[in-house]
């Protein structure tokens, strides 16, 4: 092979990231540079709320996960970050806009997930259940066996969408090796 430099190994985010990575959300004195409001105008008609919980192998909600969203449809490049330790139900909650379809792909949002108990972060995606036609023909979704595909598809609500992430079990979320 070529002379590649060896990748720096990953380590867990651990249980105590909040005052470093999401300090404002958790009420520490250091100011966050990013939060869960990914759009400037939270009251704009196109603003949606995406929420959900992260579950462990015993079906319990995880209260020390860090969820990051990244979406890029060419027009809007949006990044958000939220820890699951401040909502009373341990949910993640983001305000964003739904990305557009690019080149006929189904619209989606990238999810990067960190938590105590993960030595290496995981990647998943959020697709949308009101895009049935595009979802059906999407190249990436079609890599996933049909009975697991719904783990990636958020359900429409009155204010946006909800999606839960299951680390293990029958409903285990599809994770990607990017």
């Amino acid at each position: 092979m070529d002379n590649r430099n060896l990748q720096t190994p990953s380590q867990t985010i651990g249980p105590f990231f909040a005052y470093g990575l999401t300090p404002t959300q958790y009420d520490y004195e250091f100011e966050s540079w990013v939060d869960n409001n990914m759009v400037a105008d939270l009251d704009a008609p196109e603003t949606i709320e995406i929420s959900g919980s992260v579950f462990d192998g015993e079906g319990k909600t995880i209260n020390d996960a860090l969820v990051e969203l990244w979406q890029d449809d060419g027009e809007h490049k949006l990044y958000g970050r939220f820890g699951t330790g401040t909502d009373e139900k341990n949910r993640f909650i983001f305000k964003t806009i739904k990305p557009k379809s690019v080149d006929g792909q189904a619209p989606f949002i990238n999810v990067i997930l960190f938590m105590r108990g993960q030595l290496l972060h995981t990647y998943t995606r959020i697709y949308f259940d009101d895009e049935a036609n595009l979802n059906q023909s999407d190249k990436i979704l079609n890599l996933v066996e049909s009975e697991r595909r719904n783990t990636l598809i958020a359900k429409k609500t009155e204010v946006g969408y909800t999606i839960n992430i299951h680390m293990q079990g029958q409903k285990e979320t599809v994770f990607f090796d990017l």
Binding site: N5, S10, Y19, F114, Q118, L119, F175, L178
Partner: protein, 235 residues
């Protein structure tokens, strides 16, 4: 910008999701095979930090939380270079850091370790790489602390790092350790790393970086996944 060959996680270097010695992985590691899209079907991008404005004391943890005096402990200065796997520097990327104080206590409200807080130290900071990919921050050497993973479990001294690089596949959260720490060989986090990669997280003491009468110097270089240059390399 011809270097858009993508590489995945190097499985000879990176820890697995499941590592039984680290008990919290048991209920949190994915159990089903990951889906691997063709790289050609991915449009990769990520947050950029060209115009990011750091606070004046963000990169000096010895000063950024001072209330009524200086924090206790050994002052250190940590330098390093952030590159991609081809050795190309990654300029203007954000590093976020957090750590315990010199007694081994985090300010996090959930940390119940019986060691004193330091009113003048928070342990959180940020810095950016410069045009050549170099970064530097000042802090206090973190202490070891016990945790509940197994009887008499102690974490070696470490600083948590978070980095982005050019796109979401180069995202990295890791921990920097210190040379000669006797706890390294007992630590499941460190031992989860395959042997080939284990030493890569141990910083090097560097007398040339040491600032006389002020702070001990350590060097910790970081290699982010992929060959992507950042979007501003040609600017």
């Amino acid at each position: 910008m011809s270097d858009i060959i993508q590489t995945g996680f190097d499985r000879e270097i990176q820890p697995n999701y499941l590592y039984e010695g680290y008990k919290s992985t048991l209920l949190r590691a994915p159990t089903k095979p990951l889906i691997m899209p063709k790289k050609a079907d991915l449009t990769l991008s990520g947050p950029v930090f060209k115009d990011f404005e750091l606070g004046a004391l963000d990169s000096d943890l010895t000063k950024n939380a001072v209330k009524n005096g200086e924090p206790l402990g050994e002052r250190i200065v940590v330098h390093g270079k952030v590159t991609n796997e081809k050795g190309h520097p990654i300029p203007y990327t954000l590093l976020e850091i957090w750590q315990a104080n010199s007694s081994g206590r985090y300010i996090h409200k959930a940390d119940q370790h019986n060691a004193p807080l330091d009113p003048n130290f928070s342990g959180a900071g940020r810095c950016m790489t410069d045009a050549e990919g170099n970064y530097k921050f000042y802090t206090i050497k973190p202490g070891a602390y016990s945790w509940g993973n197994h009887p008499n479990a102690w974490r070696p001294n470490h600083i948590h790092f978070s980095l982005f690089g050019g796109d979401i596949t180069s995202r990295l959260i890791t921990q920097m350790y210190f040379p000669g720490d006797p706890l390294l060989e007992f630590d499941p986090m460190v031992q989860s790393i395959p042997l080939k990669g284990r030493d890569l997280l141990i910083s090097k003491f560097d007398l040339a970086l040491t600032e006389p009468d002020f702070a001990l110097g350590f060097r910790f270089d970081i290699v982010l996944r992929g060959h992507h240059a950042t979007p501003f390399e040609n600017q």
